[in-house]
Protein backbone atom coordinates (compact mmCIF):
# COMPACT_ATOMS: atom_id res chain seq x y z
CA UNK A 1 0.00 0.00 0.00
CA UNK A 2 1.05 3.56 -0.71
CA UNK A 3 0.17 5.84 2.16
CA UNK A 4 0.15 9.54 2.79
CA UNK A 5 0.35 10.19 6.53
CA UNK A 6 -0.61 13.62 7.79
CA UNK A 7 1.04 15.39 4.89
CA UNK A 8 1.22 19.11 5.19
CA UNK A 9 2.72 21.57 2.71
CA UNK A 10 2.49 25.34 2.53
CA UNK A 11 3.82 27.90 0.09
CA UNK A 12 4.07 31.09 2.05
CA UNK A 13 0.52 31.91 3.06
CA UNK A 14 -1.05 29.24 0.91
CA UNK A 15 -1.66 25.84 2.48
CA UNK A 16 -1.56 23.53 -0.49
CA UNK A 17 -1.83 20.30 1.43
CA UNK A 18 -3.58 20.29 4.77
CA UNK A 19 -3.07 17.24 6.96
CA UNK A 20 -3.83 14.69 4.27
CA UNK A 21 -3.88 11.02 5.18
CA UNK A 22 -4.79 8.54 2.47
CA UNK A 23 -4.23 4.96 1.45
CA UNK A 24 -3.85 3.63 -2.05
CA UNK A 25 -3.72 0.03 -3.11
CA UNK A 26 -5.93 -1.73 -0.63
CA UNK A 27 -5.77 -4.45 -3.20
CA UNK A 28 -3.39 -4.81 -6.12
CA UNK A 29 -4.56 -2.99 -9.20
CA UNK A 30 -6.90 -0.71 -7.30
CA UNK A 31 -8.10 2.18 -9.44
CA UNK A 32 -8.38 5.33 -7.37
CA UNK A 33 -9.46 8.65 -8.80
CA UNK A 34 -8.73 11.97 -7.19
CA UNK A 35 -11.17 14.73 -7.98
CA UNK A 36 -11.53 18.32 -6.96
CA UNK A 37 -11.57 21.84 -8.37
CA UNK A 38 -8.44 23.49 -9.68
CA UNK A 39 -6.16 24.58 -6.90
CA UNK A 40 -7.44 21.90 -4.56
CA UNK A 41 -3.94 20.56 -4.15
CA UNK A 42 -4.20 17.43 -6.28
CA UNK A 43 -0.96 17.91 -8.18
CA UNK A 44 0.80 19.02 -5.01
CA UNK A 45 -0.23 15.76 -3.40
CA UNK A 46 1.25 13.81 -6.30
CA UNK A 47 4.39 15.93 -6.09
CA UNK A 48 4.70 15.11 -2.41
CA UNK A 49 4.11 11.41 -2.92
CA UNK A 50 6.68 11.18 -5.71
CA UNK A 51 9.37 13.25 -4.08
CA UNK A 52 9.22 16.31 -6.31
CA UNK A 53 8.39 18.28 -3.17
CA UNK A 54 9.30 17.74 0.46
CA UNK A 55 6.48 17.91 2.97
CA UNK A 56 6.61 20.40 5.80
CA UNK A 57 5.15 17.72 8.04
CA UNK A 58 4.04 14.15 7.67
CA UNK A 59 5.42 11.15 5.83
CA UNK A 60 5.01 8.97 2.79
CA UNK A 61 5.05 5.24 3.30
CA UNK A 62 5.17 2.62 0.58
CA UNK A 63 4.84 -1.09 1.31
CA UNK A 64 5.55 -0.35 4.97
CA UNK A 65 8.74 1.52 4.12
CA UNK A 66 9.09 5.19 4.94
CA UNK A 67 10.14 6.81 1.69
CA UNK A 68 9.74 10.44 2.75
CA UNK A 69 13.46 11.12 2.45
CA UNK A 70 14.00 9.24 -0.77
CA UNK A 71 14.82 11.13 -3.96
CA UNK A 72 12.47 10.78 -6.92
CA UNK A 73 14.75 8.41 -8.77
CA UNK A 74 15.10 6.19 -5.71
CA UNK A 75 11.31 6.07 -5.40
CA UNK A 76 11.07 4.97 -9.01
CA UNK A 77 13.29 2.03 -8.31
CA UNK A 78 11.22 1.26 -5.23
CA UNK A 79 8.18 0.91 -7.47
CA UNK A 80 6.55 4.34 -7.76
CA UNK A 81 6.03 6.10 -11.09
CA UNK A 82 4.13 9.15 -12.31
CA UNK A 83 3.08 11.03 -15.39
CA UNK A 84 2.80 14.79 -15.71
CA UNK A 85 -0.07 17.21 -16.12
CA UNK A 86 1.90 19.15 -18.71
CA UNK A 87 3.39 16.41 -20.81
CA UNK A 88 7.01 15.68 -20.12
CA UNK A 89 8.69 13.46 -22.66
CA UNK A 90 12.08 13.53 -24.33
CA UNK A 91 11.29 15.83 -27.20
CA UNK A 92 14.15 15.10 -29.54
CA UNK A 93 13.83 11.34 -29.35
CA UNK A 94 11.40 9.19 -31.27
CA UNK A 95 8.54 7.47 -29.48
CA UNK A 96 10.39 4.19 -29.59
CA UNK A 97 13.55 5.79 -28.20
CA UNK A 98 11.56 7.39 -25.41
CA UNK A 99 10.16 4.06 -24.34
CA UNK A 100 13.50 2.35 -24.82
CA UNK A 101 15.17 4.90 -22.56
CA UNK A 102 12.63 4.15 -19.86
CA UNK A 103 13.11 0.41 -20.13
CA UNK A 104 16.90 0.82 -20.07
CA UNK A 105 16.63 3.10 -17.06
CA UNK A 106 15.24 0.25 -15.01
CA UNK A 107 18.81 -0.83 -14.34
CA UNK A 108 19.95 0.40 -10.97
CA UNK A 109 23.69 -0.11 -11.10
CA UNK A 110 25.69 2.55 -12.90
CA UNK A 111 28.05 -0.12 -14.15
CA UNK A 112 25.37 -2.03 -15.95
CA UNK A 113 24.44 1.09 -17.88
CA UNK A 114 27.57 0.56 -19.89
CA UNK A 115 26.91 -2.99 -20.95
CA UNK A 116 26.37 -3.35 -24.61
CA UNK A 117 23.19 -4.41 -26.25
CA UNK A 118 23.58 -8.05 -25.27
CA UNK A 119 20.11 -7.85 -23.84
CA UNK A 120 19.21 -5.92 -26.95
CA UNK A 121 16.49 -8.30 -28.11
CA UNK A 122 14.94 -8.57 -24.68
CA UNK A 123 14.78 -4.80 -24.36
CA UNK A 124 13.34 -4.30 -27.82
CA UNK A 125 10.66 -6.89 -27.17
CA UNK A 126 9.62 -5.09 -24.00
CA UNK A 127 9.59 -1.79 -25.87
CA UNK A 128 7.46 -3.19 -28.69
CA UNK A 129 5.09 -4.73 -26.19
CA UNK A 130 4.59 -1.38 -24.47
CA UNK A 131 4.11 0.42 -27.74
CA UNK A 132 1.41 -2.01 -28.75
CA UNK A 133 -0.31 -1.90 -25.37
CA UNK A 134 -0.64 1.87 -25.67
CA UNK A 135 -1.46 1.80 -29.39
CA UNK A 136 1.63 3.80 -30.27
CA UNK A 137 3.24 1.34 -32.65
CA UNK A 138 2.13 3.31 -35.69
CA UNK A 139 3.90 6.44 -34.56
CA UNK A 140 6.85 4.62 -33.04
CA UNK A 141 9.38 6.32 -35.29
CA UNK A 142 7.97 9.81 -35.08
CA UNK A 143 9.87 12.39 -33.06
CA UNK A 144 8.08 13.14 -29.81
CA UNK A 145 8.07 16.86 -30.42
CA UNK A 146 5.98 16.46 -33.52
CA UNK A 147 3.27 14.21 -32.13
CA UNK A 148 -0.32 15.36 -31.73
CA UNK A 149 -1.36 16.09 -28.16
CA UNK A 150 -3.27 12.88 -27.59
CA UNK A 151 -0.33 10.72 -28.58
CA UNK A 152 2.00 12.74 -26.37
CA UNK A 153 -0.28 12.12 -23.42
CA UNK A 154 -0.32 8.42 -24.19
CA UNK A 155 3.45 8.40 -24.50
CA UNK A 156 3.86 10.05 -21.11
CA UNK A 157 1.58 7.43 -19.57
CA UNK A 158 3.26 4.60 -21.49
CA UNK A 159 6.64 5.71 -20.21
CA UNK A 160 5.38 5.68 -16.66
CA UNK A 161 3.96 2.20 -17.10
CA UNK A 162 7.23 1.23 -18.74
CA UNK A 163 8.95 1.58 -15.40
CA UNK A 164 7.10 -1.52 -14.29
CA UNK A 165 5.83 0.17 -11.15
CA UNK A 166 3.68 -1.14 -8.37
CA UNK A 167 2.06 2.25 -7.90
CA UNK A 168 1.33 4.69 -10.65
CA UNK A 169 0.24 8.30 -10.22
CA UNK A 170 -1.27 9.88 -13.32
CA UNK A 171 -1.87 13.60 -13.41
CA UNK A 172 -4.82 14.40 -15.68
CA UNK A 173 -3.92 11.91 -18.40
CA UNK A 174 -6.90 12.93 -20.53
CA UNK A 175 -6.77 16.69 -20.27
CA UNK A 176 -6.72 18.47 -23.60
CA UNK A 177 -7.50 15.24 -25.37
CA UNK A 178 -10.47 14.93 -27.73
CA UNK A 179 -13.52 13.07 -26.40
CA UNK A 180 -12.99 10.13 -28.69
CA UNK A 181 -9.36 9.75 -27.68
CA UNK A 182 -10.19 10.18 -24.02
CA UNK A 183 -12.00 6.92 -24.02
CA UNK A 184 -9.18 4.93 -25.41
CA UNK A 185 -6.60 6.60 -23.17
CA UNK A 186 -8.61 5.69 -20.07
CA UNK A 187 -9.56 2.28 -21.35
CA UNK A 188 -5.94 1.47 -22.03
CA UNK A 189 -4.89 2.68 -18.60
CA UNK A 190 -7.56 0.61 -16.91
CA UNK A 191 -6.81 -2.46 -19.00
CA UNK A 192 -3.08 -2.39 -18.34
CA UNK A 193 -3.51 -1.61 -14.64
CA UNK A 194 -5.84 -4.49 -14.08
CA UNK A 195 -3.75 -6.86 -16.14
CA UNK A 196 -0.48 -5.99 -14.40
CA UNK A 197 -1.91 -5.40 -10.95
CA UNK A 198 -0.62 -1.82 -10.83
CA UNK A 199 -2.38 0.35 -8.28
CA UNK A 200 -3.24 3.43 -10.28
CA UNK A 201 -4.12 6.80 -8.80
CA UNK A 202 -5.49 9.17 -11.41
CA UNK A 203 -6.29 12.85 -11.13
CA UNK A 204 -9.32 13.40 -13.31
CA UNK A 205 -11.90 16.06 -13.99
CA UNK A 206 -14.33 14.11 -16.11
CA UNK A 207 -16.90 12.66 -13.66
CA UNK A 208 -18.33 10.28 -16.25
CA UNK A 209 -14.99 8.57 -16.50
CA UNK A 210 -14.62 8.55 -12.75
CA UNK A 211 -18.01 7.04 -12.05
CA UNK A 212 -17.53 4.40 -14.71
CA UNK A 213 -14.04 3.18 -13.85
CA UNK A 214 -13.20 4.03 -10.27
CA UNK A 215 -12.87 1.43 -7.58
CA UNK A 216 -12.73 4.34 -5.20
CA UNK A 217 -12.76 8.08 -5.50
CA UNK A 218 -11.38 10.79 -3.27
CA UNK A 219 -12.35 14.45 -3.29
CA UNK A 220 -9.86 17.13 -2.38
CA UNK A 221 -10.82 20.68 -1.60
CA UNK A 222 -8.51 23.47 -0.50
CA UNK A 223 -5.77 21.03 0.34
CA UNK A 224 -7.81 18.69 2.51
CA UNK A 225 -9.70 15.47 1.95
CA UNK A 226 -13.30 16.40 1.54
CA UNK A 227 -14.77 12.96 1.09
CA UNK A 228 -14.10 9.44 -0.03
CA UNK A 229 -16.25 6.69 -1.45
CA UNK A 230 -17.13 4.29 -4.23
CA UNK A 231 -19.20 5.19 -7.31
CA UNK A 232 -21.93 2.92 -5.94
CA UNK A 233 -22.03 4.98 -2.78
CA UNK A 234 -22.42 8.08 -4.91
CA UNK A 235 -25.71 6.76 -6.19
CA UNK A 236 -27.20 5.85 -2.86
CA UNK A 237 -25.65 8.36 -0.50
CA UNK A 238 -27.12 11.80 -1.21
CA UNK A 239 -24.96 13.55 1.29
CA UNK A 240 -21.82 12.07 -0.17
CA UNK A 241 -22.94 12.89 -3.66
CA UNK A 242 -23.57 16.54 -2.95
CA UNK A 243 -20.30 16.67 -1.10
CA UNK A 244 -18.37 15.21 -3.98
CA UNK A 245 -20.30 16.52 -6.91
CA UNK A 246 -20.79 19.85 -5.25
CA UNK A 247 -17.10 20.07 -4.85
CA UNK A 248 -16.54 19.07 -8.46
CA UNK A 249 -16.85 22.51 -10.04
Amino acid sequence: MLEARNLRKSFGQLTATDDVSLEFGREAGELVFIVGPNGAGKTTLVNLLTGYLSPDEGSVVMDDQDITDMSPDERVHAGLARSFQVVRVFEDMTVRENVRTVVLARQKKTRSMFSLADRHEEVEATVQDLLEKFRLEDVADAVAEELPHGDRKLLDVAMSFGLDPNYLLLDEPTSGVSTREKEYVIETIVEVSKAEGVTTVTIEHDMDIVTEYADRLIALHQGAVHGEGTPQMLETDDELRSLLLGVEA
Binding site: P72, D73, V76, F84, F90, E91, T101, A105, L163
Partner: protein, 395 residues
Protein backbone atom coordinates in the same frame (compact mmCIF):
# COMPACT_ATOMS: atom_id res chain seq x y z
CA UNK B 1 30.29 -12.79 -31.94
CA UNK B 2 33.71 -12.54 -33.51
CA UNK B 3 34.88 -10.44 -36.44
CA UNK B 4 33.63 -11.64 -39.75
CA UNK B 5 30.99 -11.26 -42.36
CA UNK B 6 27.37 -10.98 -41.41
CA UNK B 7 24.09 -10.79 -43.24
CA UNK B 8 21.89 -7.78 -42.57
CA UNK B 9 18.89 -6.72 -44.58
CA UNK B 10 19.96 -9.04 -47.34
CA UNK B 11 23.38 -7.50 -47.78
CA UNK B 12 26.75 -8.53 -46.49
CA UNK B 13 28.10 -6.45 -43.67
CA UNK B 14 31.30 -6.62 -41.70
CA UNK B 15 31.30 -7.16 -37.99
CA UNK B 16 34.37 -5.47 -36.57
CA UNK B 17 33.78 -6.25 -32.94
CA UNK B 18 30.72 -7.27 -31.07
CA UNK B 19 28.03 -4.77 -31.81
CA UNK B 20 29.91 -2.78 -34.43
CA UNK B 21 28.52 -3.88 -37.74
CA UNK B 22 29.30 -1.77 -40.77
CA UNK B 23 28.24 -1.80 -44.37
CA UNK B 24 31.01 -2.74 -46.74
CA UNK B 25 31.40 0.84 -47.83
CA UNK B 26 31.67 2.12 -44.30
CA UNK B 27 34.09 -0.62 -43.35
CA UNK B 28 36.28 0.30 -46.28
CA UNK B 29 36.17 3.90 -45.12
CA UNK B 30 37.15 2.86 -41.61
CA UNK B 31 40.04 0.81 -42.91
CA UNK B 32 41.18 3.66 -45.08
CA UNK B 33 41.04 6.03 -42.15
CA UNK B 34 43.11 3.76 -39.94
CA UNK B 35 45.68 3.19 -42.66
CA UNK B 36 45.88 6.89 -43.32
CA UNK B 37 46.28 7.60 -39.64
CA UNK B 38 49.29 5.33 -39.36
CA UNK B 39 50.74 6.36 -42.68
CA UNK B 40 51.07 9.99 -41.71
CA UNK B 41 54.77 9.92 -40.85
CA UNK B 42 55.50 8.53 -44.28
CA UNK B 43 53.06 10.86 -46.03
CA UNK B 44 54.76 13.74 -44.31
CA UNK B 45 57.94 13.00 -46.18
CA UNK B 46 56.04 13.00 -49.44
CA UNK B 47 54.44 16.31 -48.52
CA UNK B 48 57.83 17.78 -47.79
CA UNK B 49 59.01 16.87 -51.21
CA UNK B 50 55.90 18.41 -52.71
CA UNK B 51 56.39 21.51 -50.56
CA UNK B 52 53.03 21.26 -48.80
CA UNK B 53 54.04 23.21 -45.74
CA UNK B 54 51.16 22.43 -43.40
CA UNK B 55 51.37 18.67 -43.62
CA UNK B 56 54.00 18.29 -40.96
CA UNK B 57 54.18 15.62 -38.31
CA UNK B 58 54.11 18.16 -35.53
CA UNK B 59 51.03 19.83 -36.90
CA UNK B 60 49.04 16.65 -37.46
CA UNK B 61 50.13 15.25 -34.15
CA UNK B 62 49.02 18.39 -32.36
CA UNK B 63 45.70 18.28 -34.17
CA UNK B 64 45.10 14.69 -33.12
CA UNK B 65 45.93 15.42 -29.51
CA UNK B 66 43.59 18.39 -29.22
CA UNK B 67 40.98 16.63 -31.29
CA UNK B 68 41.10 13.77 -28.83
CA UNK B 69 40.31 16.17 -26.00
CA UNK B 70 37.42 17.46 -28.10
CA UNK B 71 36.07 13.93 -28.46
CA UNK B 72 35.86 13.75 -24.68
CA UNK B 73 34.19 17.14 -24.51
CA UNK B 74 31.63 16.00 -27.02
CA UNK B 75 30.21 13.40 -24.68
CA UNK B 76 28.98 16.23 -22.50
CA UNK B 77 28.08 18.47 -25.37
CA UNK B 78 26.21 16.20 -27.69
CA UNK B 79 24.30 14.11 -25.20
CA UNK B 80 23.98 15.85 -21.88
CA UNK B 81 23.70 19.18 -23.72
CA UNK B 82 26.17 20.78 -21.35
CA UNK B 83 28.59 23.29 -22.84
CA UNK B 84 31.81 23.23 -20.89
CA UNK B 85 34.06 26.18 -21.48
CA UNK B 86 36.73 24.84 -19.19
CA UNK B 87 37.96 21.70 -20.85
CA UNK B 88 41.46 23.11 -20.99
CA UNK B 89 41.51 22.63 -17.23
CA UNK B 90 41.82 18.84 -17.61
CA UNK B 91 44.10 19.15 -20.59
CA UNK B 92 46.38 21.51 -18.74
CA UNK B 93 46.26 19.50 -15.53
CA UNK B 94 47.34 16.43 -17.45
CA UNK B 95 50.08 18.35 -19.21
CA UNK B 96 51.43 19.95 -16.06
CA UNK B 97 51.28 16.66 -14.17
CA UNK B 98 53.53 15.13 -16.77
CA UNK B 99 55.87 18.11 -16.55
CA UNK B 100 55.99 18.18 -12.78
CA UNK B 101 56.50 14.46 -12.33
CA UNK B 102 59.17 14.44 -14.99
CA UNK B 103 61.13 17.35 -13.61
CA UNK B 104 60.57 17.10 -9.87
CA UNK B 105 59.98 13.41 -9.36
CA UNK B 106 62.42 12.26 -12.00
CA UNK B 107 59.91 9.96 -13.61
CA UNK B 108 61.44 8.89 -16.88
CA UNK B 109 59.02 6.28 -18.11
CA UNK B 110 56.84 7.61 -20.90
CA UNK B 111 53.99 5.32 -20.06
CA UNK B 112 54.01 6.25 -16.40
CA UNK B 113 54.01 9.92 -17.28
CA UNK B 114 50.95 9.41 -19.43
CA UNK B 115 49.26 7.34 -16.78
CA UNK B 116 49.84 9.95 -14.10
CA UNK B 117 48.69 12.73 -16.42
CA UNK B 118 45.47 10.86 -17.06
CA UNK B 119 44.90 10.07 -13.42
CA UNK B 120 45.39 13.58 -12.10
CA UNK B 121 43.47 15.10 -14.98
CA UNK B 122 40.58 12.82 -14.15
CA UNK B 123 40.72 13.72 -10.47
CA UNK B 124 40.53 17.38 -11.43
CA UNK B 125 37.47 16.58 -13.52
CA UNK B 126 35.93 14.88 -10.53
CA UNK B 127 36.45 17.94 -8.36
CA UNK B 128 35.27 20.54 -10.83
CA UNK B 129 32.40 18.31 -11.83
CA UNK B 130 31.21 17.95 -8.27
CA UNK B 131 31.09 21.72 -7.91
CA UNK B 132 29.38 22.38 -11.22
CA UNK B 133 26.95 19.57 -11.81
CA UNK B 134 24.01 21.09 -10.07
CA UNK B 135 23.88 23.72 -12.73
CA UNK B 136 23.04 23.65 -16.40
CA UNK B 137 23.08 25.87 -19.43
CA UNK B 138 24.85 29.18 -19.38
CA UNK B 139 25.58 29.07 -15.69
CA UNK B 140 27.40 25.79 -16.20
CA UNK B 141 29.45 27.31 -19.01
CA UNK B 142 30.25 30.28 -16.80
CA UNK B 143 31.38 28.06 -13.93
CA UNK B 144 33.57 25.83 -16.03
CA UNK B 145 35.21 28.86 -17.59
CA UNK B 146 35.84 30.35 -14.18
CA UNK B 147 37.39 27.18 -12.80
CA UNK B 148 39.55 26.80 -15.86
CA UNK B 149 40.83 30.32 -15.45
CA UNK B 150 41.52 29.69 -11.79
CA UNK B 151 43.86 26.88 -12.74
CA UNK B 152 45.45 29.08 -15.37
CA UNK B 153 46.05 31.82 -12.87
CA UNK B 154 47.54 29.40 -10.37
CA UNK B 155 49.95 28.00 -12.93
CA UNK B 156 50.83 31.52 -13.99
CA UNK B 157 51.55 32.59 -10.44
CA UNK B 158 53.56 29.65 -9.18
CA UNK B 159 57.25 30.07 -9.83
CA UNK B 160 57.71 26.38 -9.13
CA UNK B 161 55.66 25.75 -12.24
CA UNK B 162 57.66 28.17 -14.26
CA UNK B 163 55.20 31.05 -14.18
CA UNK B 164 54.27 32.51 -17.52
CA UNK B 165 57.24 30.90 -19.21
CA UNK B 166 56.08 27.42 -18.34
CA UNK B 167 58.28 24.45 -17.78
CA UNK B 168 60.02 21.77 -19.81
CA UNK B 169 59.16 18.10 -19.75
CA UNK B 170 62.64 16.72 -19.71
CA UNK B 171 63.42 13.79 -17.47
CA UNK B 172 66.44 11.62 -17.46
CA UNK B 173 69.84 11.96 -19.08
CA UNK B 174 68.57 11.72 -22.61
CA UNK B 175 66.29 14.62 -21.79
CA UNK B 176 63.43 12.61 -23.18
CA UNK B 177 61.04 10.19 -21.58
CA UNK B 178 62.00 6.57 -22.10
CA UNK B 179 59.75 3.97 -23.57
CA UNK B 180 60.02 0.82 -21.54
CA UNK B 181 63.44 1.83 -20.40
CA UNK B 182 64.76 2.55 -23.88
CA UNK B 183 65.78 5.93 -25.12
CA UNK B 184 64.17 6.58 -28.46
CA UNK B 185 66.72 8.99 -29.81
CA UNK B 186 65.90 10.43 -33.17
CA UNK B 187 62.84 8.30 -33.58
CA UNK B 188 61.22 9.95 -30.56
CA UNK B 189 58.81 12.10 -32.51
CA UNK B 190 57.70 9.33 -34.81
CA UNK B 191 57.29 6.64 -32.19
CA UNK B 192 55.35 9.07 -30.06
CA UNK B 193 53.08 9.73 -33.01
CA UNK B 194 52.35 6.04 -33.37
CA UNK B 195 51.61 5.80 -29.68
CA UNK B 196 49.24 8.73 -30.03
CA UNK B 197 47.57 7.10 -33.01
CA UNK B 198 47.02 3.91 -31.05
CA UNK B 199 45.65 5.79 -28.07
CA UNK B 200 43.35 7.77 -30.32
CA UNK B 201 41.97 4.62 -31.91
CA UNK B 202 41.41 2.95 -28.56
CA UNK B 203 39.83 6.10 -27.22
CA UNK B 204 37.47 6.32 -30.19
CA UNK B 205 36.50 2.71 -29.74
CA UNK B 206 35.76 3.26 -26.06
CA UNK B 207 33.72 6.34 -26.86
CA UNK B 208 31.86 4.42 -29.51
CA UNK B 209 31.06 1.79 -26.94
CA UNK B 210 29.80 4.40 -24.49
CA UNK B 211 27.69 6.09 -27.12
CA UNK B 212 26.07 2.77 -27.96
CA UNK B 213 25.26 1.74 -24.44
CA UNK B 214 22.23 2.42 -22.29
CA UNK B 215 24.27 5.17 -20.64
CA UNK B 216 24.02 7.20 -23.80
CA UNK B 217 20.24 7.11 -23.64
CA UNK B 218 20.41 8.16 -20.03
CA UNK B 219 22.58 11.14 -20.93
CA UNK B 220 20.30 12.09 -23.79
CA UNK B 221 17.33 11.97 -21.46
CA UNK B 222 19.14 14.10 -18.91
CA UNK B 223 20.07 16.57 -21.58
CA UNK B 224 16.55 16.89 -22.93
CA UNK B 225 14.52 16.94 -19.72
CA UNK B 226 16.32 16.63 -16.43
CA UNK B 227 13.15 16.41 -14.38
CA UNK B 228 11.61 13.66 -16.46
CA UNK B 229 14.91 11.83 -16.38
CA UNK B 230 14.81 11.87 -12.61
CA UNK B 231 11.27 10.59 -12.66
CA UNK B 232 12.16 7.60 -14.76
CA UNK B 233 14.65 6.59 -12.16
CA UNK B 234 17.89 8.07 -13.46
CA UNK B 235 20.19 9.38 -10.75
CA UNK B 236 20.78 12.55 -12.69
CA UNK B 237 23.58 14.13 -10.71
CA UNK B 238 25.57 10.95 -10.45
CA UNK B 239 25.36 10.31 -14.18
CA UNK B 240 26.30 13.85 -15.09
CA UNK B 241 29.29 13.58 -12.82
CA UNK B 242 30.28 10.29 -14.44
CA UNK B 243 30.02 11.86 -17.88
CA UNK B 244 32.08 14.79 -16.71
CA UNK B 245 34.76 12.50 -15.34
CA UNK B 246 34.87 10.47 -18.55
CA UNK B 247 35.37 13.64 -20.54
CA UNK B 248 38.11 14.52 -18.08
CA UNK B 249 39.90 11.26 -18.82
CA UNK B 250 40.13 12.20 -22.48
CA UNK B 251 41.31 15.66 -21.56
CA UNK B 252 43.96 14.34 -19.21
CA UNK B 253 45.28 11.82 -21.70
CA UNK B 254 45.43 14.49 -24.37
CA UNK B 255 47.27 16.83 -22.04
CA UNK B 256 49.78 14.15 -21.17
CA UNK B 257 50.37 13.33 -24.81
CA UNK B 258 50.81 17.01 -25.55
CA UNK B 259 53.35 17.39 -22.77
CA UNK B 260 55.54 14.50 -23.80
CA UNK B 261 55.45 15.31 -27.45
CA UNK B 262 56.11 19.03 -27.16
CA UNK B 263 58.29 18.57 -24.13
CA UNK B 264 57.23 21.98 -22.92
CA UNK B 265 54.11 23.26 -21.22
CA UNK B 266 52.97 26.83 -20.73
CA UNK B 267 49.92 28.21 -18.98
CA UNK B 268 48.78 30.03 -22.11
CA UNK B 269 49.15 26.98 -24.29
CA UNK B 270 47.38 24.51 -22.05
CA UNK B 271 45.13 26.22 -19.52
CA UNK B 272 44.02 29.54 -20.93
CA UNK B 273 40.32 29.80 -21.66
CA UNK B 274 41.02 30.50 -25.31
CA UNK B 275 42.28 26.92 -25.44
CA UNK B 276 38.99 25.74 -23.98
CA UNK B 277 37.27 27.77 -26.63
CA UNK B 278 39.46 26.16 -29.27
CA UNK B 279 38.56 22.68 -28.09
CA UNK B 280 34.88 23.56 -28.22
CA UNK B 281 35.45 25.12 -31.61
CA UNK B 282 36.97 21.87 -32.84
CA UNK B 283 33.90 19.94 -31.81
CA UNK B 284 31.64 22.39 -33.60
CA UNK B 285 33.86 22.68 -36.66
CA UNK B 286 33.99 18.95 -37.14
CA UNK B 287 30.37 18.45 -36.23
CA UNK B 288 29.36 17.81 -32.67
CA UNK B 289 26.50 15.51 -33.53
CA UNK B 290 28.91 12.86 -34.71
CA UNK B 291 31.55 10.70 -33.06
CA UNK B 292 34.46 11.46 -35.36
CA UNK B 293 33.58 15.10 -35.95
CA UNK B 294 35.54 16.54 -33.02
CA UNK B 295 38.67 14.61 -33.97
CA UNK B 296 38.47 15.75 -37.57
CA UNK B 297 37.74 19.24 -36.33
CA UNK B 298 40.83 19.14 -34.20
CA UNK B 299 43.16 18.30 -37.03
CA UNK B 300 41.43 20.75 -39.30
CA UNK B 301 41.60 23.62 -36.86
CA UNK B 302 45.27 23.09 -36.10
CA UNK B 303 46.06 22.98 -39.80
CA UNK B 304 44.03 26.12 -40.40
CA UNK B 305 45.77 27.85 -37.52
CA UNK B 306 49.13 26.92 -38.94
CA UNK B 307 48.26 28.18 -42.38
CA UNK B 308 46.48 31.21 -41.03
CA UNK B 309 49.30 32.32 -38.81
CA UNK B 310 51.75 32.25 -41.66
CA UNK B 311 49.43 34.35 -43.75
CA UNK B 312 48.34 37.07 -41.36
CA UNK B 313 48.99 38.33 -37.83
CA UNK B 314 45.27 38.85 -37.40
CA UNK B 315 44.61 35.22 -37.04
CA UNK B 316 42.07 35.54 -34.22
CA UNK B 317 39.88 37.67 -36.45
CA UNK B 318 40.00 34.96 -39.07
CA UNK B 319 39.04 32.36 -36.49
CA UNK B 320 36.19 34.54 -35.30
CA UNK B 321 34.95 35.12 -38.82
CA UNK B 322 35.05 31.40 -39.62
CA UNK B 323 33.15 30.67 -36.41
CA UNK B 324 30.47 33.17 -37.34
CA UNK B 325 30.11 31.60 -40.77
CA UNK B 326 29.98 28.21 -39.11
CA UNK B 327 27.22 29.20 -36.73
CA UNK B 328 25.08 30.79 -39.40
CA UNK B 329 25.83 28.57 -42.35
CA UNK B 330 27.14 25.21 -41.23
CA UNK B 331 25.88 24.45 -37.75
CA UNK B 332 26.43 20.78 -38.30
CA UNK B 333 30.12 21.21 -38.92
CA UNK B 334 32.15 19.56 -41.61
CA UNK B 335 31.49 15.90 -40.87
CA UNK B 336 27.90 16.62 -39.99
CA UNK B 337 27.25 18.43 -43.22
CA UNK B 338 28.48 15.63 -45.40
CA UNK B 339 25.61 13.36 -44.47
CA UNK B 340 22.43 13.12 -46.42
CA UNK B 341 20.61 15.76 -44.50
CA UNK B 342 23.65 17.95 -44.48
CA UNK B 343 23.78 21.53 -45.51
CA UNK B 344 25.71 20.80 -48.67
CA UNK B 345 23.10 18.50 -50.17
CA UNK B 346 20.30 20.84 -49.17
CA UNK B 347 22.04 23.86 -50.62
CA UNK B 348 22.74 21.93 -53.79
CA UNK B 349 19.10 20.96 -54.06
CA UNK B 350 17.99 24.51 -53.48
CA UNK B 351 20.52 25.75 -56.01
CA UNK B 352 19.23 23.31 -58.60
CA UNK B 353 15.66 24.38 -57.98
CA UNK B 354 16.63 28.00 -58.17
CA UNK B 355 18.48 27.51 -61.41
CA UNK B 356 15.48 25.71 -62.87
CA UNK B 357 13.22 28.57 -61.79
CA UNK B 358 15.51 31.08 -63.36
CA UNK B 359 15.65 29.28 -66.65
CA UNK B 360 11.90 29.10 -66.87
CA UNK B 361 11.21 32.59 -65.75
CA UNK B 362 14.01 35.14 -65.99
CA UNK B 363 12.08 37.73 -64.03
CA UNK B 364 12.59 35.57 -60.97
CA UNK B 365 16.01 37.18 -60.74
CA UNK B 366 14.34 40.55 -60.46
CA UNK B 367 12.13 39.20 -57.68
CA UNK B 368 15.12 37.92 -55.76
CA UNK B 369 16.95 41.21 -56.06
CA UNK B 370 13.93 43.09 -54.84
CA UNK B 371 13.45 40.72 -51.92
CA UNK B 372 17.07 41.00 -50.85
CA UNK B 373 17.02 44.75 -51.24
CA UNK B 374 13.81 45.00 -49.25
CA UNK B 375 15.23 42.86 -46.52
CA UNK B 376 18.31 44.99 -46.24
CA UNK B 377 16.31 48.18 -46.15
CA UNK B 378 14.16 46.75 -43.38
CA UNK B 379 17.25 45.85 -41.36
CA UNK B 380 18.65 49.33 -41.73
CA UNK B 381 15.32 50.91 -40.79
CA UNK B 382 15.10 48.74 -37.73
CA UNK B 383 18.60 49.57 -36.61
CA UNK B 384 18.01 53.29 -37.05
CA UNK B 385 14.79 53.11 -35.08
CA UNK B 386 16.52 51.22 -32.33
CA UNK B 387 19.26 53.83 -32.20
CA UNK B 388 16.68 56.56 -32.00
CA UNK B 389 14.88 54.71 -29.24
CA UNK B 390 18.03 54.28 -27.26
CA UNK B 391 18.93 57.91 -27.49
CA UNK B 392 15.50 59.36 -26.92
CA UNK B 393 13.88 56.75 -24.75
CA UNK B 394 11.34 54.02 -25.31
CA UNK B 395 8.29 55.17 -27.24
Amino acid sequence: MSPGLVDRDGETHVRVIQGLVLSKRRFAGLLLGVVFLFAVPDLVRVAQALDISFFQLGVIHRGLVFGFAAVGLNLLLRHTELVSFGHAAFFGTGAYTAAVTAVYLDVTSLLILLLLATAIGTVMAGIIGALSLRHTGLYFALLTLAFGQLLYAIALGQSALGGSDGMPVRPGEANEPLLLGQSLGDAYGIILYYITAIIVLVGLLVMWRIVNSPFRYALDAIGQDRTRAEFIGLPVRRYVWVAFVISGVYGGVAGGLFAVFRQYVTPAGTLYFLQSGDILYMAILGGFKTLLGPLVGGVLLVVLEFVGRSVTPYFEFLTGAVLVILVFGFPEGIVGSIGEDGVFRRALARGKRGAADLRENPSVAGDWARRIGGGLRRQIDESLTTLRVIVFGVS
